[in-house]
Amino acid sequence: MGWLRAPAGGPLDYHRRWWLRAYVGLVFLLLYAPIVTLVVFSFNDSKRNIVWRGFTTKYYWKAWNNDSLFEAFTNSLMIAGVSTAISTVIGTMVAMLLWRFRFPLKSAYEGLVALPIVVPEICMGVAMLAFFSRVTGFPTDWPWPFNLSAITAAHIAFSFPFVAVVVRARLIGFNRELEEASRDLGASEWQTFWNVIFPYMRPGVVAGALLAFTLSLDDFVVTFFTSGPDTLTFPVKVYSMVRFSVTPEVNAASTVLIAITIALTVLAMRLQSPARVG
């Protein structure tokens, strides 16, 4: 505990003050304690989930064998996969559009593209509900996976603006002289894009895709309003379980989702880190 008694250094060495350290430590403890206990108690061998009664993985098996939970999980992966593919392509194109061209009303268009990011989730959710209940062509009684098309379309609508933001941030660092050089050396526009610009922006595209996947997999509010009784996603299913009771099975399901999203986030951060620029 030496650091507690360390001399307080200069007047600006605020980070050496023990009380500030203790305070910030406490904030982080409160921030993480609920999540850590949730994960720990998913291994608890007790149905009532209050006191530790020994280690078990049986609730993971139980969650795995819960048919509707498993189905919701496959739905979520399917939606996230399709939504990621489409929103990555669309988002990248929008990023290139904004990066490359000057056109009338450009700042208004930028604001429009950013709109899905700022609009309150609940407003977007009810808009989707009102829209899909009026528009035919997205029936929920189609065979899987086409019954998920309404949810997927909604997910793409809020994901691709995020992809556009990430890819555009990457493109800003691109030296356009490289593009000119490529053109001067006789490459066609398509060759220049594929061999010069795309390799440069790939880390941004991959990071954007991972972001889109996480956003889709995690989304609750918009999906809650878009989904029908037979098209549950993982978060919506967990929600209905949570409303019913607090059980280790929900903890196990949540832990799986946390693990997936954290793994994807760490991957995205590594791909975006400056060390990999090149």
């Binding site: 921030l31 609920p34 206990t37 194109m93 056109f103 609940i122 407003c123 949570v242 949540s254």
Partner: protein, 296 residues
């Protein structure tokens, strides 16, 4: 940057997919809701847009709904203030530690963003419920101090399904959002100004209030707006932690669309929420504009 007319084909190829998707799956749904907000129910399943303002009037004049709106505003405001008080020292410390710790602490602040909101809210239920960790800890303290012999058995606190739970949930979920803009502005702060203030005889307290806080005001304003907007429109947190006792606008909107089947009224409420969001964003843009004008 190229002018769009010089590469018309490429321009349209890049422009059409995103714009079309936005129009069909975002603007059209919003337009439907906007139109519905001026409509009325003509039967159980049908609504007709008649241009009436009755839905807005009902939202803003009926005491029950006015109460919910008012509660959403003050709960969000209180929780925003709580976030600011908790986040400022955290952001302050992060901007003074060494580079390695800075990265670790920032990553630790950002990580919860990526954990599902539903799961974080669910985690709080286990903390706050009658047989939850807080009551468990309190009971242990109570019995260790033999207070049960004096005052009778421990009475667990009712921490869930009230305004307190919703406020605590909002603070818990949104506090990390507050740290980032605060950190950005404290990081930019010229530390020699603090030194000058201390050299010239101001105490630490005076320096903080008269130098640090005014100079980091842009970050404070930015953080307040960034946190207040999503709080105002939150649905899941009051739904799971507040139950029927502590509802916010989001819950009322959800009920109109999911169970009460009163789309026009729900539409009017959600557009009131949209207008509030746009007003807050405009305020933020205005504040940023004034700042950059002042710096020129």
């Amino acid at each position: 940057m190229d002018h769009w007319r010089d590469h018309k084909l490429a321009f349209w190829v890049f422009a059409i997919p995103g714009t079309a998707w936005l129009v069909v799956f975002f603007l059209a749904p919003l337009a439907i809701v906007w139109a519905l907000s001026f409509g009325e129910n003509i039967s159980i399943t049908q609504t007709r847009v008649t241009g009436t303002l009755e839905n807005y009037g009902r939202a803003l004049l009926t005491p029950v709904y006015l109460q919910v709106i008012w509660k959403s505003v003050w709960l969000s405001a209180l929780a925003t203030a709580g976030c600011l008080l908790i986040a400022y020292p955290v952001a302050f410390l992060i901007s003074f530690v060494g580079a390695r710790w800075k990265m670790i602490l920032l990553a630790a602040i950002i990580l919860p963003f990526w954990i599902n909101l539903l799961i974080r809210t669910y985690a709080l239920i286990a903390v706050f419920r009658t047989r939850g960790f807080v009551n468990f800890g309190l009971e242990w303290v109570y019995e260790t101090l033999f207070l049960d012999r004096l005052f009778g058995p421990f009475q667990p606190l009712e921490l869930l399904y009230n305004n307190f739970a919703v406020g605590a949930g909002l603070i818990y979920v949104f506090m990390p959002f507050m740290v980032l803009p605060l950190y950005a502005s404290i990081e930019r702060l010229d530390k020699s100004l603090l030194e000058a203030s201390l050299d010239l005889g101001a105490g630490q307290f005076t320096t903080f209030w008269r130098v640090t806080v005014p100079l980091t005001m842009p970050g404070i304003v930015s953080g307040i707006i960034l946190v207040f907007i999503p709080m105002l429109g939150s649905f899941l947190i009051p739904d799971l932690l507040g139950g029927t006792n502590a509802q916010m606008i989001g819950n009322v909107i959800e009920r109109q669309f999911k169970s009460a089947n009163d789309y026009p009224f729900g539409a009017a409420l959600s557009f009131l929420l949209m207008y509030a969001t746009f007003a807050a964003l405009a305020l933020r843009a205005y504040a940023a504009g004034r700042r950059s004008a002042a710096q020129v």
